[in-house]
């Protein structure tokens, strides 16, 4: 399965939301990373058929998805940011309703399986309005999986979840990530570090970096530093490196700095993580000169 985006562009009045997006995706979990307003939701909405691109085309195995119509929608699963379900419906009734909307035949066993899978079997008869944020998200993923989608789009699915719920959600995604294309748009990098195969970094509507997670991490190798400092020195470092991550450790402060140049003092090169990649590519001061740069790894 090959999902190809060719020169996709979208503009809202004078603001460019997406510009010349060209990328090919195959089976795997793709982390779509970018700050708020980067164009992630616009891209997801275009793929889900909610928005029409101003330019370019999307093809699945050579066929344009706009021409595929229902055929494409049959294999598509889309969980938008803050999905709106009907508060008076029970979890089970919502599953049945969406099974009907998705034209899933003999849905009853499938609904049972999915509710079990997202650990909501015991709450299936409760009204949606009584669900916690995490339960709502898990129901959302169960609804999205009803038609066993080959292309699954998850737009900020972990926003607002507590750490326990986020781990549970990540586990669900990990377990369904075979034989499908999963696009996981987020700006919470820790959510996808362990489950994504590839990362797409989007900034101001453009892809700035695309490749396997390991290669993406390599893109900042030699630019991540750790050092220990007292309170006064730590403050000085933060002034110089506003993107520094600070963790208090006893009397001292541990700083993690992403910088092209080695910071002054006893800085030690560290193994990069996806958060460093995010900080490097999206931290405002470090963007100069990278705006028009697209790196494919």
């Amino acid at each position: 399965m090959e999902l190809q985006f060719e020169n996709i562009g979208k503009t809202y009045r004078s603001r460019t939301a997406l510009s010349d997006i060209s990328v090919t995706l195959r089976e795997g979990v793709y982390a779509l990373l970018g700050p708020n307003g980067a164009g992630k939701s616009t891209w997801m909405n275009i793929l889900a058929g909610l928005l029409k691109p101003d330019s370019g085309k999307i093809t699945l195995d050579g066929k344009e998805i706009s021409a595929m119509g229902k055929e494409f929608r049959r294999i598509l699963g889309y969980l938008p940011q803050e999905p709106g379900f009907y508060p008076d419906f029970t979890g089970y009734a919502l599953m049945k309703y969406f099974a009907e909307i998705k034209d899933v035949k003999a849905a009853e066993p499938k609904i049972g399986e999915l509710l079990e899978f997202v650990n909501l079997s015991g709450d299936a008869d409760r009204r949606y309005r009584e669900y916690s944020g995490g339960m709502k998200r898990r129901l959302g993923i169960a609804v999205t999986l009803l038609n066993d989608p080959k292309i699954l789009i998850l737009d900020e699915p972990t926003a607002g979840l507590d750490p326990k719920e986020r781990i549970r959600f990540r586990n669900i995604i990990s377990s369904i990530g075979r034989n499908r294309i999963i696009i996981f748009a987020t700006h919470i990098v820790s959510d996808i570090e362990t489950i994504a195969d590839q990362a797409i970094l989007l900034k101001s509507g453009k892809i700035v970096l695309f490749g396997p997670i390991r290669s993406v991490l390599d893109s900042v190798r030699g630019r991540v530093w750790t050092l220990e400092a007292d309170a006064r020195e730590a403050e000085k470092y933060v002034m110089q490196h506003p993107n520094a991550t600070i963790v208090k450790s006893g009397e001292h402060w541990n700083l993690r700095i992403v910088s092209g140049a080695r910071p002054q003092g006893p800085a030690v090169e560290a193994k990069p993580c996806l958060e460093d990649v995010y900080m490097y590519w999206f931290e405002e001061h470090s963007l100069e000169g990278k705006e028009n740069e697209t790196v494919s790894l």
């Binding site: 058929g49 909610l50 929608r73 889309y78 938008p80 709106g84 909307i101």
Partner: protein
């Protein structure tokens, strides 16, 4: 079919069911509330006359009424003469008091007898058989139907969310990418809108009728043309007339329900949807006087706007106008349901 039923489930949520039944209870209470209307005659005296001359209108009844009018005129004209005779002691007090009693009776009956004779002339102008019966309550029932604000409020509350809910609760992004989430779902929603827009008014109209019949008694099988000023209508009973009108109104409300859907689909904002719905479906009743009557009745479906359908209205043309409007609203709904909303998504 299942999707269609789900739409009903979404319309009649627990909260909406309470609103619906509370509105019905209010409607029934309002029906039982005593209404006082002004008439050019005395309904009580009219009722007494009907007990005496009720039944098929005949020449004898007309002659009787004409004789009574002359008698009344004579009694009233004799007042000065009788008063003078009493003052001149030409008649005794007893006799004068008997005259005064007759005079007051004549005075109170005069307008009613005049009205009855007006009806006689009206019945003479009719082709078929005419029947005298106590019809004041029916005439009041028809002429004081008024704009159904309560029904409008209930329909707005039930029907605006059919599309609006999907936009404001962000359910639409889940629905549109689904196999049946586009045209099929939109058609099911429109069918639910149209059917609810038809059925709910029919329930209200039937309840209004039931409450009226409980209070006013019978008469529903008499021809509507027996009511003064209703000669332009066909030879149908009062009940048939009411339910023909109720059907026309319900059909117009049903078309209006599709308009509510179109408004929600275009503006995608609850407050603005309610505002525009009031502008489109209530305000024409406030400015009824500025339109030529026929244009007003056809274009704005005057029937739902408060009065019974006029005799000049051709119900076939009315039905055609409703169908054309429904077709236009359906097309708008289908187009805007799938239309992207720049800046919203």
């Amino acid at each position: 079919m299942k999707l269609f039923l789900y739409e009903f489930r979404k319309i009649f949520t627990a909260g909406n069911r309470i609103v619906f039944f509370a509105a019905l209870a209010l409607q029934a209470l309002w029906g039982f509330f005593p209404h006082v209307y002004e008439h050019e005659y005395s309904p009580e005296i009219y009722r007494r006359y009907m007990e005496r001359i009720g039944g098929v209108y005949t020449e004898e009844k007309r002659t009787f009424l004409e004789a009574r009018r002359e008698e009344i005129a004579g009694l009233i004209d004799a007042y000065e003469e009788m008063e003078g005779a009493y003052k001149r002691d030409e008649i005794a007090l007893d006799e004068f008091e008997r005259y005064l009693y007759e005079y007051q009776l004549a005075e109170s009956e005069r307008s009613t007898v005049d009205y009855l004779l007006e009806k006689c002339s009206y019945y003479d102008s009719l082709d078929g058989e005419a029947v005298f019966f106590y019809d004041t309550d029916w005439a009041d029932f028809f002429s004081h139907s008024g704009y159904p604000y309560l029904l409008a409020a209930v329909l707005f509350l039930l029907l605006i969310p059919v599309f609006d809910r999907e936009f404001t609760s962000n359910a639409r992004p889940l629905l549109l990418p689904a196999v049946s989430g586009r045209k099929k779902l939109c058609i099911c929603k429109l069918a639910a809108l149209a059917l609810t827009g038809f059925a709910v008014p029919m329930v209200f109209f039937a309840l209004r009728y039931a409450v009226f019949v409980c209070q006013a008694g019978g008469g529903q099988d008499f021809c509507v043309r027996n009511l003064l000023g209703y000669s332009g209508y066909p030879d149908i009973s009062l009940a048939q007339y009411y339910f023909t009108d109720a059907l026309a109104k319900a059909a117009a409300w049903s078309v209006g329900a599709l308009l509510l859907g179109a408004v929600s689909n275009i503006v995608r904002n609850t407050v603005f949807s309610f505002f525009l719905s009031v502008v489109c479906m209530v305000s024409p009743a406030w400015f009824a006087g500025i339109w030529p009557p026929l244009v007003y009745e056809y274009a704005f479906c005057a029937a739902p706007l408060g009065k019974m359908y006029g005799a000049a209205i051709d119900l076939r043309v009315f039905a055609l106008v409703c169908l054309l409007k429904a077709a236009a609203y359906i097309l708008i709904n289908l187009k805007y349901w799938e239309k992207e909303a720049s800046g919203i998504l």
